[in-house]
């Protein structure tokens, strides 16, 4: 396995078209994005960005819900759109997903066991009596007592319990990678900490890698090993998370970092922000997408979009470097 990436995106792009006839508008949701999650050891790779940056579109492409217009997604070196049926089943087993809303993922008329046993059977993990064992084992590994959860309906569980059950579901096929799209943003602080700890434990004990998609850099820095920062569909910076967070290179990453409220009243924001806010309707830009908000912009930034350059152990797309 050494050397082959677990997951790799190569120049992936996706454009959505909205409107009709003369009002057609193209929205480039993902713009030539490349990154890879290494295969050697379990890694939590963070995909960070604000709303509309394309992070969930990337998740949907990886999960094969939608097809990219350009580029390819490789899983262990194989294009996920060119898998044969056997490989596809393996891919569906090894790459699992957990989403933001632990309320809407359940069918309310079935007890929560349903989603677990369906997964175990359809994925060919277990049959007959083994199914129960597999379910109990998965529930225990996410810190739930099977007797407290099994037979319960979704409305009888708390948000944190539901998100745990969904993580247990994702664990049943023994995945190598879990795509977690904002898995804690709807949970309260106390439950959030538990789910984040669980992700750390699953990585350490079960060897599961995570693609953690979030807008929240404080939770990202807690669970992540590497980070890729997206801005309007393009990667602006990528590297080991501690380095990126302690000294962000790209002006957007810098703005993002300085905007995170520090939970400490003795470390309040001192300087004022004057980042111009632009209206939602905007024309096309030819150069850097961050140009109109960038405090360090130069004339050359308008000409062509900057490409990712390697600086030390990270990548930055900015003319400053």
């Amino acid at each position: 396995m050494s050397g082959v990436n677990l997951l790799e995106l190569r120049n992936v792009s996706k454009t959505f078209v909205s409107g009709f006839l003369f009002f057609r508008r193209k929205v480039v949701a993902v713009d030539k994005v490349s990154f890879s999650i290494p295969g050697e050891k379990p890694t939590a790779f963070v995909l960070a960005g604000e709303s509309g940056s394309g992070k969930s579109t990337i998740a949907r492409i990886i999960l094969r819900f939608i097809k990219p217009d350009e580029g390819e997604v490789l899983y262990r070196g194989r294009n996920i759109l060119a898998l044969n049926s056997k490989e596809l089943l393996l891919y569906r087993r090894e790459v699992q997903a957990v989403f933001q809303d632990p309320y809407s993922a359940f069918n309310p008329v079935y007890p929560v066991d349903h989603i677990l046993s369906i997964t175990a059977r359809r994925m060919g993990v277990a049959q007959g009596k083994e199914v129960d064992e597999v379910i109990d084992e998965a529930l225990v590994s996410v810190g739930l007592r099977p007797e407290e959860v099994r037979g319960k309906y979704p409305y009888q569980l708390s948000g944190g319990q539901r998100q745990r059950v969904l993580l247990a579901r994702a664990l049943i096929p023994r995945p190598k990678l879990i795509v977690a799209d904002e898995p804690v943003s709807m949970l309260d602080a106390s439950l959030r900490a538990e789910i984040l700890n669980l992700m750390l434990d699953l990585k350490a004990k079960h060897g599961v890698s995570f693609l953690y998609i979030t807008h929240d850099l404080s939770t990202a820095s807690y669970v992540g090993d590497c980070i890729a920062v997206l801005y309007k569909g393009s990667l602006v910076e990528m590297g080991p998370i501690d380095d990126v967070i302690s000294s962000p290179y790209h002006p957007y990453t810098q703005l993002l970092m300085s905007s995170i409220p520090v939970p400490d009243p003795s470390r309040r924001w001192q300087e004022r922000v004057t980042a111009p806010e632009v209206s939602a309707a905007r024309g096309p830009v030819s150069g850097c997408k961050f140009y109109d908000r960038c405090p360090l912009r130069k004339e050359e930034c308008r000409r062509a979009p900057p490409t990712l350059k390697k600086i030390g152990n990270r990548y930055v797309a900015c003319y400053l470097y």
Binding site: E50, S51, S158, G159, G160, D188, A189, S190, L191, R192, A193, E194, L196, N197, H215, D216, L217, S218, T219, S221, Y222, D242, I245, S246, L255, L256, M257, S258, S259, I260, P261, V262, P263, D264, P265, S266, R268, W269, R272, V273, A275, E277, V278, S279, A280, A281
Partner: protein
């Protein structure tokens, strides 16, 4: 500092056929003129119900059972509907959660501001409203041209600024903002928080900021109240609370916030908030409390007591 809002023994219940649930349970709160007061707590702890009951916006099956809400010397709960209408928006402006999505999509921003002002001051001259709207827009960081736009032409942050400008249009004394930045990106959030702070300084508007996000409170409020299961469990200056939280719930809440760049394992809070249809006896937090005193916490409910000059806590650990 003079007292602007005093809430005494406020209890709000939601009632169904057989059950009665106290969403706000015997709450006392004091908010002083000119301060930014924060109300924190996790989902369903009663923050929004408390805010709604200040302006008597509780709808059935909810009902204010008892208590007083004294604003500027007047008890809002005993006021007639017409008198209360004058207080709403003119004296107390309320920005409910997600109100930036409540702008009328087919009416220009300016006309929506005119509507608000005219609803309260029929005789306000058009010229005066326009002048005031333009002034306010500059104060909230929007170009006056935005007045001519429709809501869909604005970003989320801009719409929130419009809402804040509207809420200030009649120069209220108290601004209640419920989760004003929750759906916004961090960069935009910072701008809005800075704006609230500016308004507080520039116009002397007292602000009641409600959010579950402790980091937001740490950044902008002066004093903070922590709510749990319908009760205020701790009140004090925000700096003191973060430095030395007294109530075990506050301690755990603060310990469960991830901080950028810190890898120390987060604590979380074991267990779940109580089912308010069947609340536990004694202290609401005792089933989850690591510091509970056996034989005491599950029997008697602790009162919110003054423990030092500016701090109050409802916990048996601090009773002699």
């Amino acid at each position: 500092m003079s007292l602007l809002l005093k809430i005494e023994g406020l209890t709000v219940a939601y009632e169904s056929d057989s059950k009665r649930l106290l969403a706000v349970n015997n709450v006392d709160l004091e908010i002083f003129q000119g301060e930014i007061f924060g109300l924190a707590g996790e989902s369903a702890c009663g923050k929004t119900t408390l805010a709604n009951s200040i302006l008597r916006l509780i709808k059935p099956p909810g009902r204010i059972i008892s208590g007083r809400v004294i604003f500027d010397g007047v008890d809002l709960l005993s006021l007639g509907e017409e008198d209360l209408r004058r207080i709403r928006w003119e004296k107390i402006a309320y920005i409910p959660q997600a109100s930036m999505n409540a702008l009328n999509p087919v009416v220009r921003i300016y006309d929506q501001i005119v509507d608000v002002v005219r609803a309260h001051r029929k005789d306000f001259p058009e010229e005066e409203i326009r002048r005031r709207a333009e002034e306010l827009f500059v104060s909230v960081g929007l170009a006056p041209e935005v007045l001519k736009m429709y809501p869909h032409e604005l970003s989320g942050g801009m719409r929130q600024r419009v809402i804040i400008a509207m809420s200030l249009s009649l120069n209220p004394k108290l601004l209640i903002a419920d989760e004003p930045t929750t759906a916004l990106d961090v960069v935009v959030q910072r701008g809005i928080l800075q704006l609230l702070k500016d308004i507080n300084k520039k116009f002397g508007t007292t602000i009641l900021l409600i959010t579950h996000d402790m980091a937001v409170h740490a950044q902008i409020v002066d004093r903070l109240a922590i709510m749990y299961a319908g009760k205020i469990v701790e009140v004090g200056p925000v700096k003191d609370i973060f430095e030395r939280p007294l109530h075990p719930y506050t301690q755990l809440l603060i310990a469960s916030i991830p901080r950028v760049g810190e890898k120390r394992r987060l604590a979380g809070i074991p267990g779940l908030p109580p089912d308010l249809r069947n609340p536990p006896p004694g202290c609401m937090f005792h089933p989850r409390c690591p510091l509970r005193i056996q034989g005491r916490c599950e029997r008697a409910e602790p009162a919110l007591r003054q423990v030092s000059n500016e701090r109050k806590v409802a916990c048996h650990l601090y009773e002699g």
